[in-house]
C-alpha cells in the first residue's frame, strides 16, 4: 500500500525527481563507487596486479601507521591546527559580517566587502609567496622593520613557534572575507521590525547585536560549525605543504602532507590509503558528535 503511494508520488512529480538524478549519479559515481578503492589498504597493492590480483595483508598497514613514531606527532599537529581553525578563524567571519552590517554608508560597505573577498581568489601559492617575501630574513619587510627599530630579527619561516601563528594568519587573510557572505545573507533576512521595536525600548547598537542579530543567525552559525567540523582534517594540503620545511616539520606535518610524501612520492599506495582512511574515520566521528551535540542544545543539526 505504502509502496504504491510512493510510486504515485514519484510519477506525479517526475520532473522534480528527474532533477535529483544528476546529483545522485555524481555521488554514486564519484563518492560511493570509489570507496571500493579502500580495500587496497588491506592489501599489498601492486598497481600492475590490480585489486583482484594483489595479496591480502589484513591490518598490516594500519599497524604500521599506529606504530610509526611520527604518528602521534602527525595526529597532534592535525588536531591542533584544526582547533586553531575553530577557535581563531571560525568567529572572524561572524564578527566581520556584524561589523559590516553596522556600516551605514552603502558604498563604503561594498568597497570593504570586495576588498576582503579578493584574497579568496588567490591561490595558496600566491598567499604563501607574498608572506615569504614579507618575512624572509634577507631583506624581508617585517624583519627589516624590526631591525630598524633595533629589535632582533625573527626567523618566521624556519622555526617551530612561528609556524602555527603564520598558518592561522594566512587562513584568516585568505578566507575571512569570503566567509562573511553567508552570514551577511542571514543578517539581511532578519525582520527590521525587530530592530525598530528594540530601538523603541531604548536598546543601543551593542544591545541590538547581542539580543537580535546574534540569536537570529544562531542556527546558521551552528550549521556552518558542523560543516566546518566535517572538513575537520581538510586543513588545506597545499597551504601546509608550502609552509612545511625541515625546521618546522615537528609541528607542521599533518595527515595530508604525510599521505602525499608516503603515497605519491614513493608509490606506497596501500599505506597511504590506510592513512587517508583513518583520517576520514576521525572526521566522521567528529561530525557525528558535533551533530549530536547540536541537537542536545536544541538546534536542528544537519541531518
Amino acid at each position: 500500500m505504502k509502496k504504491h503511494d510512493l510510486r504515485r508520488r514519484i510519477m506525479k512529480n517526475k520532473a522534480i525527481y528527474l532533477m535529483i538524478l544528476p546529483g545522485l549519479l555524481y555521488f554514486v559515481l564519484f563518492k560511493y563507487f570509489p570507496m571500493w578503492g579502500l580495500v587496497i589498504s588491506f592489501q599489498e597493492y601492486r598497481p600492475y596486479d590490480g585489486i583482484l590480483g594483489s595479496d591480502w595483508v589484513g591490518f598490516k598497514h594500519y599497524q604500521r601507521l599506529f606504530t610509526e613514531p611520527m604518528f602521534w606527532t602527525i595526529f597532534r599537529n592535525t588536531i591542533i591546527l584544526f582547533l586553531m581553525n575553530l577557535i581563531f578563524f571560525f568567529p572572524v567571519p561572524i564578527i566581520l559580517a556584524i561589523l559590516l552590517n553596522e556600516v551605514r554608508l552603502q558604498a563604503f560597505k561594498r568597497f570593504v566587502q570586495t576588498i576582503v573577498y579578493i584574497p579568496h581568489f588567490m591561490s595558496w601559492v600566491i598567499i604563501v609567496s607574498i608572506s615569504f617575501v614579507m618575512v624572509t630574513m634577507d631583506g624581508g619587510m617585517i624583519n627589516e622593520g624590526l631591525d630598524a627599530m633595533g629589535m632582533q630579527k625573527i626567523n618566521f619561516l624556519l622555526s617551530d613557534e612561528w609556524f602555527r601563528p603564520m598558518y592561522i594568519v594566512q587562513v584568516i587573510w585568505r578566507e575571512a572575507g569570503w566567509g562573511t557572505i553567508v552570514y551577511l545573507a542571514a543578517i539581511a533576512a532578519i525582520d527590521p521590525q525587530l530592530y525598530e521595536a528594540s530601538r523603541m525600548d531604548g536598546a543601543n547598537r551593542f544591545r541590538q547585536i547581542w539580543h537580535i542579530t546574534l540569536p537570529s543567525i544562531r542556527s546558521v552559525i551552528v550549521i556552518l560549525l558542523i560543516l566546518k567540523i566535517g572538513d575537520v582534517l581538510e586543513l588545506g594540503f597545499e597551504h601546509v605543504y608550502l609552509l612545511l620545511n625541515a625546521m618546522n616539520r615537528n609541528v607542521a606535518e599533518i595527515f595530508d602532507t604525510y599521505v602525499y610524501t608516503a603515497g605519491l612520492k614513493q608509490g606506497q599506495f596501500s599505506y597511504s590509503t590506510a592513512v587517508g582512511f583513518f583520517k576520514s574515520f576521525v572526521g566522521l566521528v567528529l561530525v557525528m558528535s558535533a551533530n549530536w551535540l547540536a541537537k542536545k542544545f536544541g538546534e536542528e543539526g544537519v541531518y
Binding site: 630574513m137 634577507d138 594540503f237 605543504y241 608550502l242 625546521m247 582512511f277
Partner: protein, 518 residues
C-alpha cells in the same frame, strides 16, 4: 610555483576515496592504452620501411622550461624517422608523482623517461615484477644503440639484465662559481682549500666587495637541496663518501662518517656568521640564483655549467660583473674529491602495459636507434642550424644568443637525447664566454678525483620501499644541526631513529648485495 601544480595533481588523489577510484579504475583493464598499442602492433615488424604509414609513438618526459615547446623540431623528427610522435611534457617539479600515478593507473605511454637515478631506483621493484621490457637481447641488432657504453649500461642493469636506454651525463659538473671582479678587488685568488673558501666568503661579506660603502653583501647562496645545492659538493671537499662509503670493509651511509659532521660544522659556521643566506633551507633555485645575479651574494656552488646563464643575466644589471669557476678544493686532510653520478642522467623505459608485442618494442627501439644518428642527435641537442646555433671556427657550435627563443623552440628537446658525446659523433660546443669554457675544462678535470657511489649497482629492498622517507629524517637533522637547533648528540639520536625506522635493514641489505657482487 611548481608546487602549485604538484598540489593540484595531488588534490585529485588527496582523499582516500578518490585515490581509491583511480586505483579501482586501473583494475578493470588498461583501456587507456589500447588505441596506441593496437596501432603499434599493426606497424610493427618492419620498422625501417619508409613506404609504410608512420609508426605511432607516445613518449612521456620531463620539461625543464616553464612552457611546452613549439613543435617545429618534433615535426622534423617525425619526418626523418617516419614516426607519428606524441610527446607528453610533464613539468620537472611534479614528474615523480606523475610517474607514480600514471604507473598506478596503467596509463604510462610507450616510452617513459625516468628523470634521474633516484626515480629509477624506485621502479626497480616493478621492473623485477616484469612490468617493463627487457631490452638487453635486442640492443645488439641496432647499429647505434649497440655503441652505448657497456659500463654505464651495466650501472643501469637490474639483476644483471638491461631494461633501459641511458642518456649520457658528465660524471660530475659540480663546482664553485664566484664573482671574479669581487675577488680581484679584495686581492683574493681562487680558493684551493676549504679554509680559503671560508676566507673568501668572509671577505665577500665584510670587505665591501661591491664598493658601495654599505655592508649589504653576503658570501654564499644556497637553496633547499642538500644534493644539487652546495652541501654535497662541499661535503666531497671534506672527503665525505658519495651516499655510501666503506668503513672497515662494510658499507655505511655517508652521514655516519665524521667528514659529514665536519661539513655540517662548516655550514654551521657560515650560518652563524651570516656568510650564507639565512633562509637557505626554504630558498628556491630561482631565488638562490637571483641573489647572485643582483649582486647580493658572491658565490654559487652547484653545476659549473650554470655560469653561462648566470653571467648572461648578471651583465644585464651590472655590465662590469665577471665570473670565474673553481674546483679541486682540498679539505683538512689535504685531499680533493668530487662526488659523481654513475655516468647516466636520464633513462628510457618501455612499459609492458602499453607496448604489447616484441614487434612493437623493436619499432620503438628503432626510433631511439635513429635518434642516436649524428644528424638527429644534433637536432635534439642543438636545434636547427643558423636558427638555434651557428657553426664557428673548428666546426664548433655557438648557441643562439636569444635564450628566450631557444627555451621555447629547442631546449626542451635536449631531454630526448640518448647516449651522448662519447657514443655519438656529434657537434660540440664552442664557448665564447671564457668562464664557461673553463667550466667545461674543469668538468673534464673532475674525472680525475671522482668519489663514486659504491651502491650504484647494488640493491636494497627496504631502500626502495622507505628510502625517501628515511632520508628525510637525515635531511631534517642536517638542517637543524646547521641552524643550531640540534647538537651532535641530537644528530646521533636522529641517526638511531633512521636505523630503527628501517636503516638497519638497508645497511644489511646493501652489504649483502655487495658481498654477492664480489
Amino acid at each position: 610555483m611548481r608546487k602549485k601544480q604538484a598540489a593540484t595533481t595531488f588534490r585529485v588523489l588527496c582523499t582516500t576515496t578518490l585515490a581509491g577510484c583511480i586505483l579501482a579504475g586501473c583494475a578493470s583493464g588498461s583501456g587507456v592504452n589500447e588505441g596506441s598499442a593496437t596501432s603499434g602492433t599493426n606497424q610493427g615488424g618492419a620498422p625501417t620501411s619508409e613506404t609504410q604509414a608512420p609508426f605511432k609513438l607516445t613518449i612521456m618526459t620531463n620539461l625543464h622550461t616553464p612552457e611546452v615547446p613549439t613543435d617545429a623540431i618534433e615535426k622534423m623528427l617525425e619526418e626523418k624517422t617516419n614516426t607519428d610522435l606524441t610527446i607528453n611534457w610533464v613539468p620537472d617539479g611534479s614528474y615523480e608523482e606523475k610517474l607514480n600515478s600514471s604507473f598506478a593507473t596503467g596509463s604510462l605511454p610507450q616510452a617513459v623517461y625516468m628523470k634521474n637515478q633516484t626515480t629509477y631506483i624506485l621502479f626497480r621493484d616493478a621492473i623485477r615484477n616484469n612490468q617493463f621490457w627487457e631490452i638487453g637481447p635486442f640492443i645488439k641488432d641496432y647499429p647505434n644503440l649497440s655503441k652505448l657504453d657497456e659500463l654505464v649500461v651495466k650501472n643501469t642493469a637490474v639483476d644483471g639484465k638491461t631494461y633501459a636506454i641511458y642518456q649520457e651525463r658528465p660524471l660530475s659538473r659540480q663546482g664553485i662559481i664566484f664573482r671574479k671582479d669581487w675577488a680581484d678587488k679584495l686581492g683574493l685568488a681562487a680558493p684551493k682549500t676549504t679554509d680559503e673558501l671560508y676566507n673568501m666568503l668572509k671577505q665577500f661579506k665584510e670587505g665591501d666587495p661591491d664598493g658601495n660603502g654599505k655592508a649589504d653583501t653576503m658570501g654564499l647562496t644556497d637553496r633547499s637541496d642538500l644534493v644539487y645545492g652546495a652541501f654535497k659538493t662541499v661535503a666531497s671537499y671534506f672527503g665525505t663518501p658519495n651516499n655510501w662509503g666503506l668503513a672497515d670493509g662494510k658499507l655505511q651511509p655517508e652521514f655516519m662518517f665524521p667528514q659529514y659532521k665536519e661539513t655540517m660544522d662548516f655550514f654551521k659556521k657560515l650560518y652563524d656568521e651570516g656568510l650564507i643566506n639565512k633562509d637557505f633551507p626554504v630558498t628556491s633555485k630561482e631565488d638562490q640564483q637571483n641573489l647572485v645575479i643582483t649582486g647580493k651574494a658572491g658565490m654559487y656552488i652547484g653545476s659549473m655549467a650554470d655560469v653561462q646563464s648566470l653571467h648572461q643575466k648578471t651583465v644585464e644589471i651590472n655590465p662590469n660583473a665577471l665570473y670565474d669557476v673553481a674546483n679541486h678544493i682540498s679539505g683538512p686532510d689535504g685531499n680533493a674529491g668530487i662526488w659523481s653520478i654513475p655516468g647516466y642522467g636520464n633513462l628510457v623505459l618501455f612499459p609492458k602495459s602499453s607496448v604489447k608485442s616484441e614487434e612493437e618494442l623493436k619499432s620503438i627501439l628503432a626510433f631511439f636507434d635513429k635518434l642516436m644518428e649524428p644528424e638527429l642527435a644534433n637536432l635534439v641537442k642543438w636545434g636547427v642550424p643558423d636558427k638555434h646555433y651557428t657553426i664557428v671556427e673548428g666546426g664548433l657550435v655557438q648557441k643562439a644568443e636569444d635564450t628566450k627563443m631557444t627555451d621555447r623552440e629547442q631546449k626542451p628537446y635536449e631531454i630526448l637525447q640518448v647516449g651522448g658525446e662519447s657514443t655519438i659523433d656529434m657537434l660540440r660546443a664552442y664557448n665564447k664566454l671564457p668562464a664557461k669554457a673553463k667550466a667545461e675544462e674543469l668538468i673534464i678535470e673532475n674525472n680525475s678525483m671522482l668519489i663514486n657511489d659504491p651502491t650504484a649497482a647494488l640493491d636494497s629492498k627496504t631502500f626502495g620501499l622507505k628510502g625517501v622517507e628515511l632520508q628525510q629524517i637525515i635531511n631534517d637533522a642536517t638542517y637543524r644541526y646547521i641552524l643550531g637547533n640540534l647538537d651532535a648528540a641530537g644528530f646521533d639520536g636522529e641517526i638511531e631513529r633512521w636505523k630503527k625506522g628501517g636503516g638497519e635493514s638497508i645497511i644489511a641489505e646493501y652489504n649483502e648485495s655487495l658481498a654477492k657482487s664480489q
